[in-house]
Subunit: 190 residues, 2 copies
Protein backbone atom coordinates (compact mmCIF):
# COMPACT_ATOMS: atom_id res chain seq x y z
CA UNK A 1 0.00 0.00 0.00
CA UNK A 2 1.24 3.51 -0.82
CA UNK A 3 1.62 5.23 2.52
CA UNK A 4 2.47 8.85 3.21
CA UNK A 5 3.75 9.76 6.67
CA UNK A 6 3.54 13.45 7.61
CA UNK A 7 5.25 14.50 10.84
CA UNK A 8 5.51 17.87 12.57
CA UNK A 9 7.94 17.61 15.45
CA UNK A 10 10.38 20.38 16.32
CA UNK A 11 12.75 18.04 18.13
CA UNK A 12 14.42 15.01 16.57
CA UNK A 13 14.54 13.23 19.94
CA UNK A 14 10.83 13.76 20.67
CA UNK A 15 8.30 11.05 21.34
CA UNK A 16 6.59 12.07 18.10
CA UNK A 17 9.75 11.00 16.30
CA UNK A 18 9.70 7.70 18.20
CA UNK A 19 6.14 7.20 16.89
CA UNK A 20 7.34 7.91 13.35
CA UNK A 21 10.25 5.49 13.71
CA UNK A 22 8.00 2.68 15.00
CA UNK A 23 5.40 3.34 12.32
CA UNK A 24 7.93 3.35 9.49
CA UNK A 25 9.54 0.10 10.75
CA UNK A 26 6.16 -1.59 10.90
CA UNK A 27 5.11 -0.31 7.48
CA UNK A 28 8.41 -1.43 5.93
CA UNK A 29 8.07 -4.90 7.47
CA UNK A 30 4.61 -5.13 5.98
CA UNK A 31 5.94 -4.20 2.55
CA UNK A 32 4.32 -0.80 2.15
CA UNK A 33 5.67 1.87 -0.20
CA UNK A 34 6.50 4.72 2.16
CA UNK A 35 7.17 8.42 1.75
CA UNK A 36 7.94 10.48 4.86
CA UNK A 37 7.42 14.25 4.90
CA UNK A 38 9.14 15.66 7.98
CA UNK A 39 7.96 19.27 7.93
CA UNK A 40 10.58 20.62 10.35
CA UNK A 41 13.39 18.83 8.55
CA UNK A 42 12.08 20.19 5.24
CA UNK A 43 11.88 23.67 6.76
CA UNK A 44 8.39 23.86 5.28
CA UNK A 45 7.02 27.39 4.97
CA UNK A 46 3.46 27.27 6.37
CA UNK A 47 2.33 30.79 5.52
CA UNK A 48 -0.27 30.92 2.74
CA UNK A 49 0.19 34.23 0.95
CA UNK A 50 -1.61 36.40 -1.56
CA UNK A 51 1.06 35.28 -3.99
CA UNK A 52 -0.03 31.62 -3.56
CA UNK A 53 -3.61 32.58 -4.41
CA UNK A 54 -2.51 34.52 -7.47
CA UNK A 55 -0.41 31.59 -8.62
CA UNK A 56 -3.33 29.23 -7.99
CA UNK A 57 -5.54 31.31 -10.24
CA UNK A 58 -2.79 31.50 -12.83
CA UNK A 59 -2.35 27.72 -12.65
CA UNK A 60 1.25 28.28 -11.71
CA UNK A 61 1.65 26.94 -8.16
CA UNK A 62 5.04 26.96 -6.39
CA UNK A 63 6.95 23.73 -6.92
CA UNK A 64 7.08 23.06 -3.17
CA UNK A 65 3.28 22.93 -3.11
CA UNK A 66 2.85 20.89 -6.28
CA UNK A 67 5.31 18.35 -4.86
CA UNK A 68 3.22 17.88 -1.71
CA UNK A 69 0.05 17.61 -3.76
CA UNK A 70 1.68 14.85 -5.83
CA UNK A 71 2.51 12.90 -2.68
CA UNK A 72 -1.05 13.23 -1.40
CA UNK A 73 -2.45 12.20 -4.79
CA UNK A 74 -0.11 9.19 -4.81
CA UNK A 75 -0.95 8.02 -1.28
CA UNK A 76 -3.65 5.50 -0.45
CA UNK A 77 -3.03 5.86 3.28
CA UNK A 78 -1.87 8.98 5.15
CA UNK A 79 -0.36 8.81 8.65
CA UNK A 80 -0.18 12.17 10.45
CA UNK A 81 1.90 12.58 13.61
CA UNK A 82 2.02 15.74 15.72
CA UNK A 83 1.96 17.12 19.25
CA UNK A 84 -1.16 18.99 20.35
CA UNK A 85 -0.22 22.63 20.91
CA UNK A 86 -2.98 24.88 22.18
CA UNK A 87 -5.61 22.24 21.34
CA UNK A 88 -4.56 22.25 17.69
CA UNK A 89 -1.74 21.50 15.29
CA UNK A 90 1.66 23.16 15.40
CA UNK A 91 1.56 26.07 12.92
CA UNK A 92 3.92 24.29 10.52
CA UNK A 93 1.35 21.49 10.07
CA UNK A 94 -1.72 23.76 10.04
CA UNK A 95 -0.03 25.74 7.29
CA UNK A 96 0.75 22.57 5.37
CA UNK A 97 -2.99 22.09 4.97
CA UNK A 98 -3.58 25.83 4.38
CA UNK A 99 -1.10 25.83 1.51
CA UNK A 100 -1.43 22.32 0.02
CA UNK A 101 -5.14 21.49 0.27
CA UNK A 102 -6.13 24.07 -2.31
CA UNK A 103 -9.32 24.64 -4.22
CA UNK A 104 -9.30 22.56 -7.38
CA UNK A 105 -6.90 20.02 -5.88
CA UNK A 106 -8.56 18.92 -2.64
CA UNK A 107 -12.11 20.18 -3.17
CA UNK A 108 -14.25 22.28 -5.45
CA UNK A 109 -17.77 23.54 -5.72
CA UNK A 110 -20.17 22.81 -8.57
CA UNK A 111 -23.96 22.96 -9.06
CA UNK A 112 -24.42 20.19 -6.54
CA UNK A 113 -22.34 21.99 -3.86
CA UNK A 114 -19.09 20.75 -2.35
CA UNK A 115 -17.15 18.15 -4.33
CA UNK A 116 -14.60 16.23 -2.25
CA UNK A 117 -11.68 15.50 -4.54
CA UNK A 118 -9.58 13.18 -2.36
CA UNK A 119 -12.07 10.38 -1.81
CA UNK A 120 -10.86 6.82 -1.37
CA UNK A 121 -7.91 7.70 0.84
CA UNK A 122 -7.66 6.80 4.50
CA UNK A 123 -5.92 8.66 7.33
CA UNK A 124 -4.63 7.59 10.72
CA UNK A 125 -3.69 10.37 13.12
CA UNK A 126 -1.46 10.17 16.19
CA UNK A 127 -1.36 13.15 18.55
CA UNK A 128 0.57 13.51 21.78
CA UNK A 129 -0.35 16.02 24.47
CA UNK A 130 1.25 17.38 27.60
CA UNK A 131 -2.19 17.67 29.16
CA UNK A 132 -3.70 14.63 30.91
CA UNK A 133 -6.72 12.87 29.43
CA UNK A 134 -8.94 14.07 32.30
CA UNK A 135 -8.29 17.73 31.51
CA UNK A 136 -9.55 17.33 27.95
CA UNK A 137 -12.39 14.97 28.80
CA UNK A 138 -13.79 17.34 31.42
CA UNK A 139 -14.42 20.03 28.80
CA UNK A 140 -15.30 17.92 25.76
CA UNK A 141 -12.03 18.86 24.10
CA UNK A 142 -11.39 15.54 22.37
CA UNK A 143 -14.65 15.87 20.50
CA UNK A 144 -13.79 19.49 19.62
CA UNK A 145 -10.30 18.53 18.39
CA UNK A 146 -11.69 15.65 16.34
CA UNK A 147 -14.19 18.02 14.76
CA UNK A 148 -11.72 20.78 13.90
CA UNK A 149 -9.18 18.30 12.53
CA UNK A 150 -10.79 15.10 11.31
CA UNK A 151 -14.06 16.65 10.10
CA UNK A 152 -12.90 20.19 9.34
CA UNK A 153 -9.89 19.18 7.26
CA UNK A 154 -9.83 15.51 6.24
CA UNK A 155 -13.51 14.73 5.85
CA UNK A 156 -14.03 18.02 4.02
CA UNK A 157 -11.83 16.76 1.18
CA UNK A 158 -13.09 13.18 1.32
CA UNK A 159 -10.26 11.54 3.28
CA UNK A 160 -11.66 9.03 5.74
CA UNK A 161 -10.07 9.30 9.20
CA UNK A 162 -9.96 5.69 10.34
CA UNK A 163 -8.85 6.71 13.82
CA UNK A 164 -7.41 9.70 15.63
CA UNK A 165 -5.41 8.41 18.57
CA UNK A 166 -4.28 10.66 21.42
CA UNK A 167 -1.36 9.91 23.72
CA UNK A 168 -1.88 12.15 26.77
CA UNK A 169 0.44 13.24 29.62
CA UNK A 170 3.42 12.66 27.39
CA UNK A 171 5.87 14.81 29.34
CA UNK A 172 5.46 12.84 32.54
CA UNK A 173 4.97 9.44 30.85
CA UNK A 174 7.45 6.79 31.99
CA UNK A 175 9.11 4.19 29.77
CA UNK A 176 6.41 1.63 30.35
CA UNK A 177 3.65 4.03 29.26
CA UNK A 178 5.70 5.12 26.25
CA UNK A 179 6.21 1.49 25.23
CA UNK A 180 2.50 0.90 25.56
CA UNK A 181 1.83 3.92 23.33
CA UNK A 182 4.32 2.65 20.72
CA UNK A 183 2.70 -0.79 20.78
CA UNK A 184 -0.63 0.93 20.11
CA UNK A 185 0.90 2.62 17.06
CA UNK A 186 2.03 -0.76 15.74
CA UNK A 187 -1.33 -2.41 16.39
CA UNK A 188 -3.25 0.37 14.69
CA UNK A 189 -1.15 -0.13 11.57
CA UNK A 190 -2.24 -3.75 11.26
CA UNK B 1 -8.19 51.49 27.64
CA UNK B 2 -5.05 49.82 26.30
CA UNK B 3 -6.17 47.79 23.33
CA UNK B 4 -4.13 45.39 21.23
CA UNK B 5 -5.46 44.46 17.79
CA UNK B 6 -4.00 41.30 16.22
CA UNK B 7 -4.90 40.59 12.61
CA UNK B 8 -3.97 37.72 10.30
CA UNK B 9 -5.11 38.53 6.79
CA UNK B 10 -3.05 37.65 3.73
CA UNK B 11 -4.73 40.29 1.57
CA UNK B 12 -4.77 44.00 2.35
CA UNK B 13 -8.11 44.43 0.54
CA UNK B 14 -9.81 41.61 2.45
CA UNK B 15 -12.93 41.93 4.54
CA UNK B 16 -10.80 41.11 7.58
CA UNK B 17 -8.89 44.31 6.90
CA UNK B 18 -12.19 46.20 6.64
CA UNK B 19 -13.05 44.83 10.11
CA UNK B 20 -9.69 46.03 11.42
CA UNK B 21 -10.19 49.49 9.88
CA UNK B 22 -13.65 49.88 11.38
CA UNK B 23 -12.50 48.61 14.78
CA UNK B 24 -9.50 50.94 14.89
CA UNK B 25 -11.64 53.95 13.90
CA UNK B 26 -14.14 53.17 16.62
CA UNK B 27 -11.45 52.58 19.25
CA UNK B 28 -9.70 55.84 18.31
CA UNK B 29 -12.96 57.77 18.53
CA UNK B 30 -13.49 56.32 21.98
CA UNK B 31 -10.04 57.43 23.07
CA UNK B 32 -8.38 54.02 23.46
CA UNK B 33 -4.63 53.51 23.32
CA UNK B 34 -4.21 51.19 20.35
CA UNK B 35 -1.45 48.94 19.08
CA UNK B 36 -2.06 46.94 15.89
CA UNK B 37 -0.04 43.82 15.12
CA UNK B 38 -0.62 42.87 11.48
CA UNK B 39 1.08 39.49 11.28
CA UNK B 40 1.28 39.32 7.48
CA UNK B 41 2.63 42.87 7.26
CA UNK B 42 5.19 42.03 9.96
CA UNK B 43 6.11 38.87 8.09
CA UNK B 44 5.80 37.06 11.41
CA UNK B 45 7.56 33.70 11.54
CA UNK B 46 5.06 31.26 13.09
CA UNK B 47 7.27 28.20 13.41
CA UNK B 48 8.20 27.37 17.00
CA UNK B 49 11.59 25.67 16.92
CA UNK B 50 13.87 23.72 19.19
CA UNK B 51 15.98 26.86 19.30
CA UNK B 52 13.05 28.81 20.84
CA UNK B 53 12.75 26.21 23.58
CA UNK B 54 16.46 26.30 24.29
CA UNK B 55 16.37 30.10 24.46
CA UNK B 56 13.33 29.93 26.74
CA UNK B 57 15.20 27.69 29.13
CA UNK B 58 18.23 29.96 28.92
CA UNK B 59 16.03 33.01 29.59
CA UNK B 60 17.21 34.46 26.31
CA UNK B 61 14.14 34.66 24.06
CA UNK B 62 14.34 36.13 20.54
CA UNK B 63 13.58 39.85 20.53
CA UNK B 64 10.64 39.35 18.14
CA UNK B 65 8.95 37.15 20.77
CA UNK B 66 9.75 39.36 23.76
CA UNK B 67 8.27 42.32 21.85
CA UNK B 68 4.95 40.51 21.35
CA UNK B 69 4.89 39.41 24.98
CA UNK B 70 5.36 43.04 26.03
CA UNK B 71 2.36 44.10 23.93
CA UNK B 72 0.20 41.37 25.45
CA UNK B 73 1.34 42.29 28.96
CA UNK B 74 0.52 45.95 28.23
CA UNK B 75 -2.96 45.28 26.81
CA UNK B 76 -6.13 45.33 28.86
CA UNK B 77 -8.23 44.33 25.86
CA UNK B 78 -7.20 42.15 22.91
CA UNK B 79 -9.07 42.15 19.59
CA UNK B 80 -8.25 39.22 17.30
CA UNK B 81 -9.31 39.23 13.65
CA UNK B 82 -8.84 36.32 11.25
CA UNK B 83 -10.48 34.23 8.55
CA UNK B 84 -11.42 30.65 9.41
CA UNK B 85 -9.24 28.33 7.34
CA UNK B 86 -9.92 24.63 7.75
CA UNK B 87 -12.00 25.29 10.88
CA UNK B 88 -9.04 26.97 12.57
CA UNK B 89 -6.67 29.90 12.45
CA UNK B 90 -4.35 30.64 9.54
CA UNK B 91 -0.96 29.14 10.41
CA UNK B 92 0.62 32.57 10.90
CA UNK B 93 -1.79 33.27 13.77
CA UNK B 94 -1.70 29.77 15.26
CA UNK B 95 2.07 30.07 15.34
CA UNK B 96 1.84 33.48 17.00
CA UNK B 97 0.27 31.72 19.98
CA UNK B 98 2.67 28.73 19.70
CA UNK B 99 5.67 31.05 19.89
CA UNK B 100 4.48 33.91 22.12
CA UNK B 101 2.28 32.24 24.77
CA UNK B 102 5.18 30.49 26.39
CA UNK B 103 5.53 28.71 29.69
CA UNK B 104 6.49 31.19 32.38
CA UNK B 105 4.93 34.08 30.47
CA UNK B 106 1.35 32.98 29.79
CA UNK B 107 1.00 30.07 32.21
CA UNK B 108 2.94 27.89 34.59
CA UNK B 109 2.43 24.91 36.85
CA UNK B 110 2.97 24.87 40.59
CA UNK B 111 1.84 22.64 43.48
CA UNK B 112 -1.75 23.73 42.91
CA UNK B 113 -1.67 22.83 39.22
CA UNK B 114 -2.10 25.25 36.32
CA UNK B 115 -1.47 28.94 37.06
CA UNK B 116 -3.01 31.28 34.48
CA UNK B 117 -0.65 34.24 34.19
CA UNK B 118 -2.68 36.60 31.98
CA UNK B 119 -5.76 37.03 34.16
CA UNK B 120 -7.69 40.30 34.06
CA UNK B 121 -7.47 40.76 30.30
CA UNK B 122 -10.43 40.51 27.96
CA UNK B 123 -10.56 39.33 24.35
CA UNK B 124 -13.00 39.92 21.52
CA UNK B 125 -12.61 37.70 18.47
CA UNK B 126 -13.92 38.27 14.96
CA UNK B 127 -13.73 35.42 12.46
CA UNK B 128 -14.94 35.36 8.88
CA UNK B 129 -15.70 32.15 7.00
CA UNK B 130 -16.39 31.19 3.42
CA UNK B 131 -18.71 28.47 4.67
CA UNK B 132 -22.34 29.33 5.44
CA UNK B 133 -23.61 29.27 9.01
CA UNK B 134 -25.79 26.22 8.30
CA UNK B 135 -22.80 24.10 7.30
CA UNK B 136 -21.10 24.69 10.64
CA UNK B 137 -24.25 24.52 12.73
CA UNK B 138 -25.24 21.15 11.28
CA UNK B 139 -22.09 19.51 12.65
CA UNK B 140 -21.62 21.45 15.90
CA UNK B 141 -18.56 23.19 14.47
CA UNK B 142 -19.07 26.57 16.14
CA UNK B 143 -18.94 24.90 19.53
CA UNK B 144 -15.83 22.98 18.47
CA UNK B 145 -14.11 26.12 17.16
CA UNK B 146 -14.98 28.05 20.32
CA UNK B 147 -13.51 25.25 22.40
CA UNK B 148 -10.27 24.90 20.46
CA UNK B 149 -9.72 28.67 20.34
CA UNK B 150 -11.45 30.46 23.20
CA UNK B 151 -11.05 27.71 25.79
CA UNK B 152 -7.96 25.96 24.47
CA UNK B 153 -5.87 29.12 24.07
CA UNK B 154 -7.32 32.20 25.78
CA UNK B 155 -9.04 30.70 28.79
CA UNK B 156 -6.04 28.47 29.42
CA UNK B 157 -3.91 31.55 30.14
CA UNK B 158 -6.67 33.44 31.97
CA UNK B 159 -7.82 35.79 29.18
CA UNK B 160 -11.60 36.10 29.25
CA UNK B 161 -13.17 35.85 25.78
CA UNK B 162 -16.05 38.26 26.01
CA UNK B 163 -17.38 37.16 22.64
CA UNK B 164 -16.28 35.25 19.56
CA UNK B 165 -18.24 36.54 16.61
CA UNK B 166 -18.40 34.71 13.29
CA UNK B 167 -19.23 36.34 9.96
CA UNK B 168 -20.22 33.47 7.65
CA UNK B 169 -20.58 33.19 3.85
CA UNK B 170 -18.16 36.06 3.43
CA UNK B 171 -17.22 35.34 -0.18
CA UNK B 172 -20.77 35.64 -1.44
CA UNK B 173 -21.83 38.39 1.01
CA UNK B 174 -23.17 41.51 -0.69
CA UNK B 175 -22.49 45.09 0.39
CA UNK B 176 -25.54 45.23 2.60
CA UNK B 177 -24.50 42.12 4.54
CA UNK B 178 -20.94 43.39 4.80
CA UNK B 179 -22.17 46.70 6.21
CA UNK B 180 -24.28 44.84 8.71
CA UNK B 181 -21.22 42.84 9.76
CA UNK B 182 -19.15 46.02 10.16
CA UNK B 183 -21.89 47.61 12.23
CA UNK B 184 -21.79 44.56 14.48
CA UNK B 185 -18.05 45.09 14.94
CA UNK B 186 -18.68 48.67 16.02
CA UNK B 187 -21.50 47.72 18.39
CA UNK B 188 -19.45 44.99 20.03
CA UNK B 189 -16.74 47.52 20.79
CA UNK B 190 -19.13 49.67 22.83
Amino acid sequence: MKTLVIIASHNSTSFNNAIKKRAVEKLKNDGHDIVVRDLYEMNFNPVLTKNDFEKLHGNNLPEEIVREQEYIKWAEKIIVIYPIWWTGMPAILKGYFDRVMLYGFAYKFDNTGLVKLLKGKEALIFSTSGQPKEHYEAIGMYDAMNKTTDLGIFDFVGINVKKHIYFPSIISANDSTRNEYLNTVEQELN
